[in-house]
Symmetry: C2
């Protein structure tokens, strides 16, 4: 253990690079050496060394006078003496130096989001896919949605820097699908490997509910919250959890796969619950749920009863997660996102059953939670990778 | 962030002390400076400095020639040249320099375990207490059990170095009981503070199931396992979880408080389940469960049916935890500990309901799991504290 602290210069360099990159990205338009040294607590030579490495990797550029004149003149007004010297060199992060792709694999739809290296959204695309589609057909739709998006963004579509993917099922550490009951032929698919070949880029595959909770924490309803359970309500419900700010995947990646809970509670399956509304139901068709919810809002008593039972089922699922994990916050997504009919009754029921009930909110990202979380996966990978890339020329 | 790595001499010193203490404790009988320098990777002067500090704090002693003659002569045979020099100085950790106390607070019984500073068991004591006892009566029994034990160990009973406590209910970060439905007057009790005054020592209070999982991981069925759920089966079931080797307490300390799950599943309460056996049941009396289990083993069909329903209830509780957390291992304690009738059916049922079923084993510590875990809590505190104590004279 003593040796661990004996000083690891490469670790120290990575930490310095991370600090400089974060400061640059946070500043947005441009930072002087003095700004960066002050923000990071590093010496000017250290900051210069890190900037050189990042510039050679194409990730940092010295801003032109035109870009920074306004900022400089303001600074100069405040400190007149500087007018006489050479203008301070200023640098900015090149968010346009590459692109990130986030993909949601769904039973009926493939959604893709394109972002720059700062995670800002550049565009989105989606493709319908029949629920009974084979794995190869589904992969082809992923490619179509992604290619359209990468092409639209211009410049002959170079490969993205990283691709994040959210998919139903249990995902192995190597990005393969260990088990998926929702999509035909998906179990056993080396999804990460196939998409790495397709895009020529690193691919991060994650369970869809896990991706969704990352998205909600990044720019959604769970911003700033470290202990979160997100439930993707649907005909095949799943949950993603953050514990201490980190994704809890479980020992075999199956944490939050709560689809079997209603079997244990001997409750009716959701298909049977919905059938009480008199609407014909396709078990994979979330639009059926939407129709029942609309009918309930319009005052149909049978639909109202069906919705009450769906909330009861959801309460049971969420209560099991809350009792096991005791999160600070529960985010409800999937068909229940944004439904006033769901959030309040759910919170009331949790108050009854849980010794300490968490806050309950609806998803802020709605149907976009999984794809947004997939972009965040790509961004996390990029940030880790940038420090290594920047180190190479050093 | 760069400044964090700029070198923290006091952190480095603590890490050095920890390394030396661990090596000394692992060696048991005695270590030479050379041994310690080799094992820890530290220089001889650094090791000597740490030993001086620990010796002044009374935690390390130079072993007498008589204690180490056998070991020395063996070493000397292997390296004849050393016979000519002064015999190497040898040191050992003084586990006898103080004592640790672990306490289990139960509905009908207070159990206490005394251990030395290496965590070795020196003795145990217990006191019965009526389930309806007030908080003050229960505190008095804790004192009686502990005083008997501290007195028995001789030398006019100096205060223990640290006290660990496992109690039903939700425990706050300050060691008070935030909520406890099982013990009268226990909710709101500043348990840690009261026992600190009583023992004149640091007191670490933890939920009983949390203490139990620490005990099983230390010297029980979960040794070497980092992702564990331990269920204390009983009329008021609870669970303790380790995630990545660390206790998962939840945002408000309520993680694993699964007592309400059966209400959600609309299943019969355990009292009603047991009543089907024809045995009169006191809801707080775990001996009632024991009687029904014995009757079932003897072939009583009504008792057999009641046991089947208890296992079904336990399966539901455990499945909810497994689906939420996906642990590597489930340890079953409480009334179900060591029962062949429980572990196998439980595992079979989990295989049916969970996408990835964990291993299921019975508690190795049985009724001693909570008190053993409480000793571990005290030992963890001591280890953290030792490094500070040893630093003072430096």
């Amino acid at each position: 253990m003593g040796q661990l602290m004996g000083g690891d210069p490469s670790l120290l360099r990575k930490i310095n690079q991370a600090a400089v990159l974060r400061a640059l990205r946070a500043a947005g338009r441009g930072c002087s050496l003095t700004d960066l040294a002050r923000t990071t607590g590093l010496s000017r030579p250290t900051v210069e060394g890190v900037l050189d490495g990042l510039a050679r990797a194409g990730l940092v550029v010295e801003t032109k006078a035109a870009e920074t004149r306004a900022a400089q003149s303001t600074a100069a007004d405040a400190a007149g003496a500087r007018r006489l010297g050479r203008p301070a060199r200023r640098f900015r992060f090149r968010a346009e130096a590459g692109r990130l792709l986030g993909v949601e694999v769904g039973a009926r739809r493939i959604s893709a989001v394109l972002a720059d290296l700062a995670g800002r959204r550049l565009g989105e695309a989606s493709r319908g896919v029949p629920p009974e589609a084979s794995a190869e057909e589904r992969l082809a739709r992923i490619e179509q949605a992604a290619r359209a998006l990468l092409g639209e963004a211009g410049q002959g579509a170079p490969a993205p820097r990283a691709v994040g993917v959210g998919t139903p099922g249990i995902v192995g550490q190597d990005g393969s699908v260990a088990l998926c009951t929702a999509l035909p032929g998906w179990t056993g698919l080396p999804l990460g490997e196939r998409l790495r070949e397709l895009f020529g880029a690193p691919v991060l595959v994650e369970n869809d509910a896990n991706a969704a909770v990352l998205g909600e924490r990044w720019v959604g309803a769970a911003a700033g919250c470290d202990d979160v359970v997100m439930v993707l309500a649907g005909l095949s419900p799943g949950a993603g959890s953050l514990i201490g700010g980190r994704l809890h995947r479980g020992h075999g990646g199956a944490a939050g796969e709560i689809g079997a809970l209603h079997l244990l509670g001997r409750q009716a399956t959701p298909e049977r619950l919905l059938a009480t509304s008199g609407t014909p139901i396709d078990p994979l068709d979330e639009r059926a749920v939407t129709r029942v919810l609309a009918a309930a809002r319009a005052g149909d008593p049978r639909a109202g009863e069906a919705v009450a039972r769906l909330v009861e089922r959801l309460t049971h699922d969420v209560a099991a997660l809350v009792l096991a994990l005791d999160p600070e916050l529960v985010v409800v997504g999937g068909w229940a996102a944004g439904l006033d009919q769901v959030v309040e009754p759910l919170h009331r029921e949790l108050e009854r059953y849980c010794l300490r009930a968490p806050r309950v909110v609806a998803s802020a990202l709605g149907g976009g939670a999984v794809a947004t979380g997939a972009v965040r996966l790509a961004l996390d990978h990029l940030e880790a990778e940038l420090f290594t890339v920047a180190e190479v020329p050093d």
